[in-house]
Symmetry: C2
């Protein structure tokens, strides 16, 4: 990633995040089952976008670089919250694959996935208390709460063809944007940013979170999604209607889409022809373009906010991330 | 419960525990689904044995009664950990009933149960940080970790006819006894007990935890279990072999029990005749008597330890609880 070349030491910091994740997830139980799950989690390690955002935000305050180690510890906590949420989400989605590999629930069973997620959460909490990170601890607890609201909100709208863009945005704020906001807030807090810088960083985090989830959802309805290791249209088939679909549902072509949805019912596999028809309806309603425009709008707003931040070299890092995530 | 008459103010303290549970679980999301779950949790409210043990332990230290309010807050946190664990366990067990009512997962779906459990956990953590309870926070995080080990250990021994009494005891330590130990440790800590009293209380908590789970498991193989709102032999049918069954498996009659297990396979419903045969084998191996003797032994050890504690009136309360739990 080009951002690593631009930002001195960022690659090292991310390696330190990994070291802390390993330390925090160290399993003393000797249960081979849990060890296999933890190895699997390590093997499927993501791109660590959330810790990266936290580390970048943590370079705007006067305490940097003295707060470097603490930022890496907090980055590890944020990444682990993301991991725990993925493990629990996969139970709900019944997903066979995540990042191109089998999910914990499909490989080790729902039972193990419930407790593996709880185990990861208990470890984060333990280390947050140990590090005496009261403020970060409260913030992250509130964030997990809001993440639950987002997921529950999404469940409530499951297979609901009347769901609105507002419902969707509210749910993805909870599911995804809230943890990006928390990452920025903690970076700002640990590096001693003033209230104005901190607020700007939190707003940037929110835009990044929205565009990150929008891009993810968009990939799920475009053919290139297969490369992400998740079946195309799996959200749609699971009854999770994302922006391109909701846009189409509120378009004149949405009438036909509703008919298709009612015909296929819940949870059913669909033929290639039906999949193509869905794609055609989404295309004709310009659902994909609308989503892309929304992503670009969030990126543009984040860029504007970045302009107001102190002119430290790390601004460029945020721009790189924005370009990367917005391009998708 | 007679214990309330003996211990002045205990009933009031437990009411205050309820007030804090309500406050901590207050839901700001407005999601009707989550609100229904939380109402359901309140309606099925348990006997609050864990907070009661914490409150009793909290009367041995010099800081009592000054620490009263804090004890009630910690009692609420301990009860909520228990609640969250029940919600997540029911997903794993696929249990239709708990305390005679429908479980969250059977009434609202597994999805809701995953997030409702996570929501409850996030709230506990938030308030522990808010109350600046670092020591209690670390202890409870470790306890949740050990609870996961117990549950994972139980999963690992699922449908395993070679499982031993040692495996079983290790798993019920994690599942149940660990939270009773934590309740006693926090009671001791908050009330300022010295190390010796604290250690005695933790040991008493461990014995109470063991006998509590042993009694619960015993009820599941005796006919009076139906009154508890859980089907008789549901543990056995789910492949969780508890002390009476494990004892029978290691008895000469265990050979026939293994044959029955292999015949019925996993997860199958069994006829009344098969159920009776299982009961006969358990009876002939004296599995029930052995379990009862073990319960009595834990109660006796706890009583001995109580004798070593300072002679405050609350000792009688512990004895009442012991008698109540041991009698079953």
């Amino acid at each position: 990633m080009a951002v690593f070349d631009q930002i001195e030491g960022l690659q090292d910091d991310l390696r330190l995040v990994d070291v802390y994740v390993d330390e925090y997830l160290h399993d003393e139980s000797g249960h081979t089952g849990l060890r296999s799950v933890l190895n699997e989690i390590n093997a499927t390690g993501g791109k660590k976008v959330r810790p990266m955002v936290l580390l970048l935000a943590g370079r705007f305050g006067p305490k940097w670089p003295g707060c470097r180690e603490r930022l890496c510890k907090m980055g590890a906590a944020v990444e682990m919250i993301h991991t725990a949420s993925l493990i629990h989400d996969d139970i709900v989605d019944d997903s066979p694959l995540r990042r191109g590999r089998q999910t914990v629930q499909s490989k080790f069973g729902k039972e193990m996935a419930v407790y593996a997620g709880d185990f990861v959460l208990s470890r984060i909490v333990y280390y947050l208390f140990k590090e005496a990170s009261t403020e970060a601890g409260m913030l992250l607890a509130k964030t997990v709460e809001v993440m639950c609201y987002g997921e529950i909100g999404q469940l409530a709208r499951s297979y609901d063809t009347e769901t609105t863009i507002e419902d969707y945005l509210s749910n993805i704020f909870g599911k995804t944007a809230s943890l990006f906001v928390a990452a920025c807030a903690i970076g700002a807090m640990e590096s001693g940013c003033g209230e104005k810088t901190s607020m700007l960083l939190r707003q940037i985090g929110e835009h990044i979170g929205y565009l990150f989830q929008l891009r993810d959802d968009l990939l799920n309805v475009t053919s290139s999604a297969r490369q992400e290791g998740k079946p195309v249209h799996s959200d749609f088939m699971n009854g999770t209607y994302t922006m391109p679909i909701i846009h189409a549902l509120h378009h004149p072509a949405g009438r036909r889409l509703r008919e298709v949805i009612h015909t296929i019912g819940t949870g059913a596999a669909v033929s290639w022809e039906v999949e193509e028809e869905i794609q055609n309806i989404v295309n004709s309603s310009r659902g994909i373009e609308f989503t892309r425009e929304t992503i670009d709008a969030h990126a543009a707003q984040a860029r504007d906010l970045l302009e107001s931040l102190p002119k430290v070299p790390v601004r460029q890092g945020f721009l790189e991330i924005l370009d990367l995530l917005a391009a998708g």
